[in-house]
């Protein structure tokens, strides 16, 4: 791929304070404006780590031989792998990483599973923003695709933005 992948050379910055000043505040977020995103190569290691964190043990995600004989003909990622993909497919200055961002709710629809080796892309934007009980909300919508252009899943979330 011509475009740099987020899993490549630069390691993931785990200090979310570091680029805090580069990120858009609630005031700067324009509903409808696309967010910058990065393609991400999903590895079996990343899937296994996610599975460990939530206690997923289904062989479809972890056991290649069993998965091959299963309904998808090979290993797949659990549907909720978008939890990882949201951060893997966005750059360090993305406002989803602003310290103090509080998740208020999410809804996701699942089409086909992501698979290890897939190069995942994200189309994302803020769709709306509003103020409720003195809190600053943003509504965001997100669609993840595989390298064939197939929709993996789509979702809408609400976060309360730091003041």
């Amino acid at each position: 791929m011509a475009q740099a992948e987020s899993s490549a050379a630069t390691p993931f910055e785990t200090d979310f304070w570091k680029d805090a000043k580069l990120r858009k505040m609630w005031d700067d977020i324009v509903p409808g404006e696309p967010r910058k995103t990065l393609p991400f190569k999903l590895t079996q290691e990343a899937i296994a780590l996610y599975c460990r964190a939530v206690g997923e043990t289904n062989p479809l995600y972890l056991d290649e031989a069993a998965a091959k004989a299963g309904p998808y003909g090979g290993l797949v990622a659990p549907p909720a792998i978008h939890i990882l993909l949201m951060f893997a497919c966005t750059p360090a200055d993305d406002w989803m990483r602003s310290p103090g961002t509080v998740n208020a709710g999410q809804s996701w629809s699942y089409n086909i599973p992501a698979r290890p080796g897939d190069t995942i892309t994200l189309q994302a934007r803020a769709l709306d923003k509003f103020i409720k009980r003195e809190r600053l909300f943003v509504v965001h919508d997100n669609v993840f695709f595989n390298q064939h252009g197939d929709v993996i899943c789509s979702g809408r979330g609400q976060t309360i933005r730091p003041m």
């Binding site: 979310f16 997923e56 659990p78 990882l84 990483r97 996701w108 629809s109």
Partner: protein, 150 residues
């Protein structure tokens, strides 16, 4: 727990998932797995401060950890019957902290047959060890008509 058999399912039937012990380590592991290193989940000093009118008093679990546990419950129940986890909507009601033990559960709400498939709606919730509901929502599962729901 109710079997995932479309014809036999009825409103009020229940499903559940295993208990999940929340610790500083489980939250840190979720940071690594999700790449969500928001200081809400890492930094005790930061969490001593106020968030508007809210003070959490210490680090809190990722809301999406609840989401992952509900999703695990649904797929573990549905996949062996050839059913597919198609949608999950959740909202977070209370923070979850290290030392809490949480558990997801679901209650069948409705069944729907459409032109091309069959669907089950499930009310889902996660409760802590005090019986408080920390997350709630609704899920939709597809039971393809061709699948053998044995």
């Amino acid at each position: 727990m109710t079997l995932a058999n479309f014809d036999a399912l009825k409103a009020g039937d229940t499903i559940d998932g295993p208990a999940f012990a929340v610790s500083r380590e489980s939250i840190r592991l979720f940071c690594d797995a999700s790449l969500d290193y928001n200081p809400l989940h890492l930094d005790d000093d930061y969490m001593k401060g106020d968030f508007g009118k809210t003070n959490f008093g210490g680090i809190i679990m990722h809301g999406m950890n609840n989401f992952g546990l509900i999703s695990r419950m649904l797929t573990d129940w549905a996949l062996p019957a050839g059913a597919i986890h198609r949608r999950l909507e959740t909202r977070w009601l209370k923070p979850v902290k290290p030392g809490d033990v949480i558990r997801p559960a679901g209650t069948i709400k409705a069944k729907q047959t459409t032109a091309k498939s069959r669907w089950v709606l499930v009310d889902v919730a996660v409760q802590n060890q005090r019986g408080e509901t920390v997350a709630a929502g609704e899920a939709m599962l597809e039971f393809p008509a061709s699948a053998k729901a044995s």
